[in-house]
């Protein structure tokens, strides 16, 4: 009995926090838009009992999903989001791996401090951190002042409101999600493995590629998914740092919802986004599981 309860609690949360909201969104995606409160029809009216419920079901259709296929905006936005997510995940890996590596190789006494420094930015609001990047990257911002002051450039660079700024923002924001899992795998790694590789004829560099990288693979995969999954649907960073040419599905969804007041189409966009995300999430879970099995747990 108690055991059943213990198992039931997490499932209940999953049901309440994931499945129910998803079903609501799915239902809206099958509805039609209307100028009313709420701005779609049909709404569920249980006063008419079973017949009312059947009428409600009968009024749902897939029209909004077919609509999404008629305009290239949507798949372009999905593709562009995917592209931005892939590129920024790669960039985050490029920046994050050396940091994680440096931390894992640092003196043991320093590691908690370094770890703290990575986590520290989380203690301030995400929004404030993104806003401060606006201050750094703008035309008259600190970066341009510094570069002009140093004489590196003569004219200020336009970085804010471009895709470059979006990449900077994403890499900055999600860096800890990349660093922490990689650090965890690197820190566990036995340093004598690298000596063994060198002893067996590897140069430092090839030891890194043949031993360090494969052994941190699970951390790299975990980190990449942790960055990739939220980046696809990212809205705040492209809105604040991106320019008008930054096309992302999060923004399209916003426009469907707010500008067109078309909740059903917005919901359809969200449902498809979720389906796209389910694939990497499943792969991620599988990686985690394989990792646990490999460690014999």
């Amino acid at each position: 009995m108690r055991r059943a309860l213990v198992i039931a609690v997490p499932y209940f949360w999953l049901l309440a926090l994931f499945l129910v909201p998803f079903l609501i969104v799915l239902k809206i995606s099958l509805s039609d838009t209307e100028l009313a409160i709420p701005p779609y029809t049909p709404t569920l009216d249980l006063s008419e009992g079973w017949a009312g419920f059947r009428a409600f079901l009968a009024a749902l259709d897939l029209e909004n999903f077919t609509f999404l296929t008629t305009d290239d905006l949507y798949w372009k936005a999905y593709l562009s989001s995917l592209q931005i997510a892939v590129v920024s995940t790669f960039l985050t890996l490029l920046v994050g791996y050396p940091i994680a590596y440096g931390m894992a190789r640092a003196d043991e006494a320093w590691r908690p401090t370094l770890l703290m420094l990575v986590i520290l930015p989380f203690w301030t609001s995400f929004l404030i951190r993104v806003y401060s990047w606006m201050g750094i990257l703008s035309q008259e911002g600190y970066l341009n002042q510094l570069l002009v002051g140093l004489g590196v450039i003569s004219e200020p660079l336009t970085i804010l409101n471009t895709n470059t700024a979006v990449y900077i923002g994403i890499v900055y924001t999600y860096l800890p999600f990349m660093i922490l899992p990689i650090y965890a795998t690197l820190e566990r790694m036995d340093a004598s493995l690298l000596e063994a590789a060198e002893d067996l004829g590897c140069s430092r560099l090839s030891a890194f590629w043949l031993v360090t990288v494969p052994l941190s693979k699970s951390g790299i995969i975990a980190g990449c998914f942790l960055v990739f999954i939220p980046t696809i649907g990212e809205f705040v960073i492209p809105s604040l740092l991106g320019g008008s040419q930054t096309l992302m599905i999060g923004k399209v969804l916003w426009e469907e919802f707010f500008s067109n007041r078309d909740w059903p189409v917005a919901s359809a966009v969200a449902v498809i986004l979720l389906l796209i995300l389910v694939i990497p999430i499943i792969l991620f879970q599988r990686n985690e599981q394989r990792q646990r099995e490999a460690e014999g747990k």
Binding site: I37, Q139, S244
Partner: protein, 360 residues
């Protein structure tokens, strides 16, 4: 960001809605003298909870979702009209609004097209959509002859190409930019005909590569700091930017012009949601705002014209005397208004706007 927080905020508001001694007002950001809020609380003994938004769309979504928990909201005319149609607002009880006698007929006549009989709303502020310019930087890019008071400044690619390096922002508001483009092309700015609307696209697309950003509030700071040199924006916002630059004493000089081709005139209306928890308090707030002195204080602070005739003698000279705020007769003649797009046309407009902005 607001979109993600809005449902939570709404939830919090509903959860704590405590009834008769609280009035919850949802207004545009940077849109009131905060001293007035304190004055309201001392005068009426009601507790005022004041939240802000920066886009009509965010407000509209809350109105259409229902249960926003607000007692007074401030949509613009075209949005108001649609929300009234959706049943989002309750008719006002003018017995409780004795100060409504202060309202200005000139404005009431124009707002009637959005709110028939002015039954659901009162005018708070009105203004024009026009062109902001950093005088020195535009002169540097285009020479002294730069047409600061013409839409040619922002709709002619050769001008925009030169302005690109110093930065141009457009409002992220298709309902403002498309009518302006149509006006520049000599078309009816209030056209709801998709074929006419489509004519705006090539014009906007041609200058779009030189637009740094489409955004509806960032330009205030960007202008004041000198980050950008030209913006299409709302009159009062630009004048706020001008004053911030003067305060900062950073050598940035901003001017606002309603374009000679004709400017869009817009109205921000105060209304009471149908499901307002405290309609009584809401009426008290509206009556307070329509007091001549209070309205004058508000305008003197935010540099927007108001729809309150009785307040005009109390306005400062740099407000009532500034044609950028209170246009002269000739300019007033030249102002136009727009009505909301039907939802089919709205989708065409949004799609076109996305295409223009993203360059796809």
């Amino acid at each position: 960001m607001k979109s993600t927080l809005a449902p939570l905020a709404a939830l919090a508001v509903v959860a704590t809605a405590a009834g008769a001694d609280e009035v919850r007002v949802y207004n545009w950001s940077d849109y009131i003298d905060e001293a007035l809020l304190e004055k309201f609380e001392t005068e009426t003994g009601l507790e005022l909870i004041y939240d802000v938004f920066d886009s009509n769309e965010v407000l509209e979504t809350k109105m259409l979702a229902g249960g926003s928990g607000y007692d007074v909201v401030v949509p613009s005319g075209t949005f108001l009209q649609r929300q009234i149609a959706a049943g989002a607002f309750q008719p006002l009880d003018f017995d409780k609004l004795p100060n409504s006698a202060n309202l200005w007929d000139v404005i009431k006549d124009r707002t009637e097209q959005y709110d028939p009989g002015n039954a659901h709303s009162i005018n708070y502020m009105w203004g024009t959509t026009g062109i902001a310019a950093n005088v020195a930087k535009v002169a540097e890019a285009l020479g002294e002859e730069g047409p600061l008071n013409s839409l040619a400044l922002v709709f002619e690619p050769e001008n925009m190409e030169k302005l690109q390096s110093c930065g141009v922002h457009f409002l992220d508001a298709p309902a403002e930019l498309i009518p302006a483009a149509l006006k520049y092309l000599g078309e009816d700015p209030d056209s709801h005909d998709p074929d006419v609307i489509a004519k705006a696209e090539p014009l906007l697309a041609a200058v779009r590569p030189y637009v740094l950003k489409f955004h509806s509030s960032e330009y205030i700071n960007a202008l004041a700091n000198g980050d950008i040199c030209v913006a299409i924006g709302w009159s009062g916002d630009v004048l706020q930017a001008r004053d911030r630059a003067i305060e900062a004493d950073n050598g940035v000089e901003i001017v606002y012009n309603a374009p000679v081709e004709g400017a869009l005139m817009w109205f921000d209306q105060m209304a009471i949601p149908a499901d307002a928890p405290n309609p009584e308090g809401a009426h008290t707030f509206l009556n307070f705002i329509m007091d001549a002195q209070n309205m004058a204080d508000a305008s003197n602070y935010v540099y927007f014209a108001n729809g309150n005739l009785a307040s005009q003698p109390l306005l400062e000279e740099d407000v009532i005397g500034d044609p950028a705020i209170y246009p002269d007769e000739a300019t007033l003649e030249n102002l136009y208004t727009t009505t909301p797009y039907p939802s089919k046309v709205q989708r065409v407009v949004t799609r076109m706007w996305t295409r223009i902005k993203s360059g796809t």
